[in-house]
Amino acid sequence: MAAPILSALMIALGSAAVCALAEAQQTKPATATAPYTKLNALPDWGGIWAPAFSPAGSAGGDPPLTPEYKTRYDAFRAASTAGRDAGNGRPSNCQPPGMPRIMLQPYNIEFLFTPGRVTIIQEAYMQVRRVFTDGRPLPEDPDPAFNGHSIGHWEGDTLVVETAGIREDTQLGRVGVSHSDQLRVVERYRLDPANPDKLMLEFIFTDPKALTKPWTQTYTFVRHREWEQIEFICAENDRNPIGEDGKTQYILGDK
């Protein structure tokens, strides 16, 4: 006589357990359980970071391009040196540059630390990059994106970011250098040990189709704690649309 009651009880308990488990999975996304207190161990990257690098780039020299990609770059440079706008292959200058040049704009950036991710906000184009530090792998077949898909981890006080899935029509670090869909970008960020208001960024590019070996470029940012980012609305007072000939225009007069 106890058996049916016991069975019913076990079924009820089992169902309750399954329901509780399902509810727990629904209400606890992967990063929500990581405590904010862990963030206290991270370095101080507060404030606004302004670029402090020349357009020639940095130590690291010219990119070691494969023959196909070198031909393209040489043609671009020849046109530019002659003062001809070689264009940048984009239909509009309001289209964001994507990785990596989204990090190399003459505008400032800020970093937000939250559990399981670092969020990078670029004033130019009001772009947001999400770097997931929760241990997930890079996606296996990422949809090509301007900023690609990024994961990261901390090595002491250095943030190491890996990005894949960058659209082929972005430029590689320097204006006029193109890349393939195989591009992988590693970024290493750390404060200058001699000056905590300087942030150093080291890019390491690998691309088996476009580069004969990994190419490294380094850049520096300077901190302004009291600044705020301002809006960047590209379409507002846009005097530099790209014409049908692919060249950037300069619109004078009343707009």
């Binding site: 302004a50 706008d85 003459p106 809006e231 004078l252 007069g253």
Partner: protein
């Protein structure tokens, strides 16, 4: 005031960046668009009257009426960098007003049209912001 003006090495660094962007490149500057349209080896001095000043991002923008050889005013369109970087140089939204008499230093458009990339300004009160003209 939202932004504290910084003196010393940081300001010098950013000034150097803005100048370097305009001077060092034979090709396009590292801007959000190509800078190949400007001749960055030249500096043109514009003495005139402010017709318009727009404090917008990505580019602040100045229109200035400059008399031509015959004395007839020609409106020049001067493209500037971002308000964030200009603020570090001492600029504010209220720095220029319609009717102000100024001297602007620009890298001119290669195609000869009345336009250029901002390098520096002499304000109505005689103060300089940005690059000052070379003493000849």
């Amino acid at each position: 005031m939202r932004h504290v003006l910084e003196k010393g090495s940081v300001r010098a660094t950013l000034l150097a960046v803005v100048s370097a962007v305009l001077l060092l490149t034979p090709g396009p500057a590292q801007a959000h668009h190509s800078g190949a349209m400007f001749d960055t080896t030249k500096e043109v001095r514009l003495v005139g009257v402010i017709k318009a000043f727009r404090w917008s991002n990505p580019h602040a923008w100045i229109e200035v009426d400059v008399p031509d050889a015959a004395g007839k005013p020609v409106t020049w369109g001067v493209e500037m960098t971002s308000p964030s970087l200009l603020t570090d140089d001492g600029w504010k939204r209220s720095t220029l007003h319609v009717g102000d008499k100024v001297e602007l230093l620009v890298a001119p458009l290669r195609d000869g049209k009345p336009g250029g990339s901002y390098l520096g300004v002499k304000l109505p009160d005689g103060r300089y912001l940005g690059r000052e003209p070379k003493k000849t």
